[in-house]
Subunit: 280 residues, 2 copies
């Protein structure tokens, strides 16, 4: 399959939904709404939406069914980037070649824009009850809220901020990667599959897939960025070659988990290979 | 009725649910989880939970039915206080006689603790699907997310931060009060009633009630704090006596809206009178 075309088509779908959902940049309070949109348009690779769409397709459904989860996951991801960039966190002034939200709009509005995107993700998803079975929407929403919470994304960021540069081991690095990155991958894939009608064993397999891909993605990201000062990096702990091997091992395990899904899981497999190998 | 006893009993109910739900303060990351609990225990008056409980009772249901909305609304309220207190926002060092979260745990953990409480509120509410009708839970959750979003709570805070001290009029002050305070009151009362089985006309009346009480509460709060430097204050715009009259007018309208509910709405009426008159 042509992954580039797949990602471009799916990105159009989610972009249209985000455009429809977010208040216009001119709506009062305009500074807040402009700040909320700054990192959404233009966005990044829309990887989490792609995972949600591909999750639904893997279980024989359509990308359209997964759209609310795809858009909600991107809103959660974007909120987390805005807050991670704050001066009191990673203090980043640039992201994707543009000034970060707090640089453009000030710190207070950056905090509020992140807060509002997080709330918006759940409002958007709750609205999906109109087209989907309410119990499925609620299950997807619970997964997403769990992924965004203190046991997962926020907890991972807290541990990342106080990461013990000199005493870290593989387990600690992967625990942060699991919580900061893989948890949201998991909520996207599993949520997409839930809205696509999947249950039980299928969800468990997709969960395992997403976890492996999420951690492998983050390891590959660290390898790309090996010159950075990032403390939580597997490359720092076990070196580049062993990190690469670990990422490949996680990727192979993830692909294995998809075996029973056959051809409909091809988009998931391609996305997985792409996320882990883009650094090579 | 004995409002003091009512509030104490309902506070016990919601405290037990919050205690059950929030990770222990010692759970890793411990600093984050301790920070999340700091402003929850001991809490304030638990006014939003009381409104959720009383909303369910007004429509002939039990407080227990409303428990998920009561707890979720308190989590949203607490998150908003933690973020409002940040140095980049109101820069408050003390709340309820204790140091604020950022003073005790640092700014980064305060941002993250607020984020995690917001996510937790939706996770807790989504979990309620196990005891309630999923479509009702989703409707309550959508209301809560809307109340927390850029059109309501976060938008109100954004406008409060840039409030035009010298050109404000009644409409602008009340618009901020509506969004910063009344919207969450509304989500609590209406959400409680939704889980209690109410629909249509009953919800519309409760919505009107909560909106009036929320704005009146905030006006009364400003009157209490008349010496403060708060720019968004009706007292500053029209003086103490006219503010008092406006709060009383809103309270009377709110009580009127409850007329068809009869005796079961007595807790709502008492809470409304208490919130508006406690300043006298």
């Amino acid at each position: 399959m042509d992954l580039r075309a797949y990602l471009a088509e799916r990105a159009q779908l989610v972009d249209a939904e985000l455009e429809r959902w977010l208040p216009p940049a001119a709506a009062a309070p305009a500074k807040l709404h402009a700040a909320m949109r700054h990192l959404i348009f233009p966005g990044g690779k829309r990887l989490r939406p792609a995972l949600a769409f591909a999750g639904a397709e893997a279980v024989g459904s359509t990308p359209e069914r997964a759209l609310p989860v795809a858009a909600a996951a991107e809103l959660v991801h974007t909120y987390s980037l805005i807050h991670d960039d704050l001066p009191c966190m990673d203090d980043d002034v640039e992201r994707r070649g543009r000034p970060t939200v707090h640089v453009l709009y000030g710190e207070a509005i950056a905090v509020l824009a992140g807060d509002a995107l997080l709330a918006a993700s759940f409002e958007l998803l709750a609205e999906a009850a109109k087209q989907s079975e309410p119990a499925r929407v609620l299950a997807a929403l619970r997964d997403l809220a769990h992924a965004a919470g203190s046991r997962q994304l926020v907890g991972g960021q807290a541990d990342d901020l106080s990461f013990p540069r000199d005493t870290a081991d593989v387990a600690l690095v992967e625990s942060v990667h699991q919580r900061k990155t893989a948890a949201l991958f998991e909520a996207a894939v599993v949520g997409g599959a839930r809205l696509g009608g999947a249950d039980g064993e299928a969800l468990a397999r997709l969960r395992g897939f997403a976890r492996g891909v999420g951690i492998a993605f983050q390891i590959a990201d660290d390898a790309l960025d090996a010159d950075s000062d990032e403390a939580c990096s597997l490359v720092r702990v076990i070196g580049a070659a062993a990190s690469r091997a670990r990422a490949d091992e996680l990727l192979a395990g993830a692909i294995d988990a998809l075996e029973p899904f056959g051809a409909p899981a091809e988009p998931l497999r391609e996305i997985a290979r792409f996320t882990v190998s883009r650094s090579q």
